[in-house]
């Protein structure tokens, strides 16, 4: 009995250290340069995801829009929020690109084609990105101190079961979806 308790306490302690303390040591939180309200832009400007995050004609994904897209509406402040004032003063007027940190940027040896997944596969943005398009604020960016990659690629949860869309973008997560839909990609379909 005493041994069992001792063993259980040891396992619990090791798990707590590995799951709670280690991520804090491994990842460093960095704030985004500006706050951004996806929901408000969706409701007020009435745009779809593809209105700002567009696909180029050759099939490349433009990703986070450049400053000129912001400047089309925000050449002058539209409202009275501090964030918008920062945007206009610090970025739009001096024409400086906003140094956004990309949550889901994959390492250099991985390629992902938005064109193939949305056009050929018929996937909706929410199926991989979850509720990001309806979020009212953006979270800090967690950078892996060793690899320099974003934590969102692995996802915040150590337990890999029951992951929600947008929580994980690891190779196994890609593979399980591909296997579920019986879609072949080979190795070099995703690795470069």
């Amino acid at each position: 009995m005493r041994f069992t308790l001792f063993f259980a306490a040891g396992v619990a302690g090791a798990l707590a250290a590995g799951w709670l303390l280690f991520p804090r040591a491994l990842y460093q939180a960095e704030t985004q340069p500006l706050q951004f309200n996806h929901k408000m832009h969706k409701d007020k400007a009435g745009t779809e995801c593809s209105g700002c995050h567009e696909l180029l004609p050759d099939g490349q994904f433009a990703g986070i829009p450049k400053l000129e897209s912001c400047a089309m509406c925000h050449a002058e402040p539209q409202g009275s929020t501090q964030t918008e004032k920062q945007l206009v003063e610090n970025y739009v007027k001096p024409q400086r690109e906003i140094p956004w940190k990309v949550y889901l940027r994959q390492p250099a040896n991985v390629r992902f084609s938005h064109a193939v997944h949305t056009r050929q596969g018929g996937l909706k943005c929410e199926q991989c990105h979850g509720g990001h398009g309806d979020s009212e604020r953006i979270e800090p960016f967690y950078r892996n101190r060793i690899s320099g990659e974003s934590r969102n690629v692995w996802g915040p949860r150590m337990v890999r079961a029951g992951l929600r869309p947008g929580e994980a973008m690891k190779m196994g997560d890609c593979e399980s979806c591909h296997a579920g839909h019986n879609v072949l990609a080979g190795c070099l379909g995703c690795h470069q």
Binding site: P57, S113, A115, G121, H181, L184, G186, L188, Q192
Partner: protein, 262 residues
């Protein structure tokens, strides 16, 4: 979840290289190096320790079993890259890491540097010496990083690499096909084919009887190098010279001398 299923037609991409047209200029070697982010050779690199995905070898009729005594000496140049063997692909069967596989949709023999442990068994197994080992981390002179191709990740020290028919270009063609509502990229052009000044290399899908490779293969002068090994390479050659075809059937008597190196 969407139940859309992508149906891509299985392809067997391949080449036919006309040895009679090759002038040995080495443009394919340079184009390949630029496309696939090959770094300039490191300071201790030799012919054997440099990295090159395609190289140009010299063929001499003196080494051919097809040349008899007293016949004139002739020479030819031949670009040599991964032959994309189809049957019992030697590098696939020896790899302890499953780092090499023949892609079911493109027929391309894919090398996965991420999985490679650097044992170089595949280099020993390859009958064409088409594989290179990275003895050093790639290094570019200052400022030259700006010329790198963003669609190809540089390989690190300690892994083997080889020609993959410019997979990045196939992927780009796939993206473009998706934008145009097609399921399948069909034709695309690898860098060496594009660079060849004499159009000595034709590229296409062996499954398609209309493709340039299938058309070229109709000639009796088209052959596979070392066909007797039975690996069924998807890169084939064409020559009107009997001594070259005799060499291809038997293999060179002496190691072919390389003239251009990446």
């Amino acid at each position: 979840m969407s139940t859309t299923r992508v149906t891509r037609k299985p392809r067997r991409y391949g080449m036919v290289i006309d040895i009679d047209r090759c002038t040995g200029c080495g443009a394919c070697v340079i184009a390949c190096a630029a496309e696939n982010n090959l770094a300039p050779a490191h300071s201790k690199a030799t012919e054997r320790t440099g990295v090159t995905l395609v190289r140009v070898v010299t063929l001499s009729s003196a080494e051919s079993p097809g040349t008899g005594f007293g016949q004139p000496r002739m020479a030819a140049y031949m670009p040599l890259m991964c032959m994309q063997c189809e049957h019992e692909t030697p590098c696939v069967s020896v790899c302890p890491q499953q780092a090499v596989e023949v892609d079911k949709l493109s027929g391309i023999v894919e090398q996965m540097p991420q999985r490679c442990l650097g044992c170089r068994y595949c280099m020993t197994a390859c009958p064409y010496h088409a594989r290179s080992f990275n003895w050093a981390d790639p290094q570019w002179p200052a400022g030259m990083e700006a010329t790198l191709n963003p669609a190809v990740a540089p390989r690190m020290r300690g892994v083997v690499e080889k020609c993959d028919f410019c997979q990045s270009r196939l992927n780009a063609a796939q993206d473009e096909a998706a934008m145009n509502g097609q399921s399948d990229p069909g034709a695309y052009t690898p860098a060496c084919v594009e660079a060849c000044a004499t159009n000595a290399i034709v590229f296409g899908d062996w499954n398609d009887p209309e493709s340039p490779v299938s058309q070229a293969a109709a000639s009796v002068e088209t052959f596979a190098w070392l066909e007797k090994l039975g690996t069924q390479p998807k890169v084939r050659f064409h020559s009107r010279q009997p001594w070259i075809r005799a060499m291809a059937a038997r293999g060179g008597a002496a190691p072919a001398k390389e003239v251009a190196h990446g």
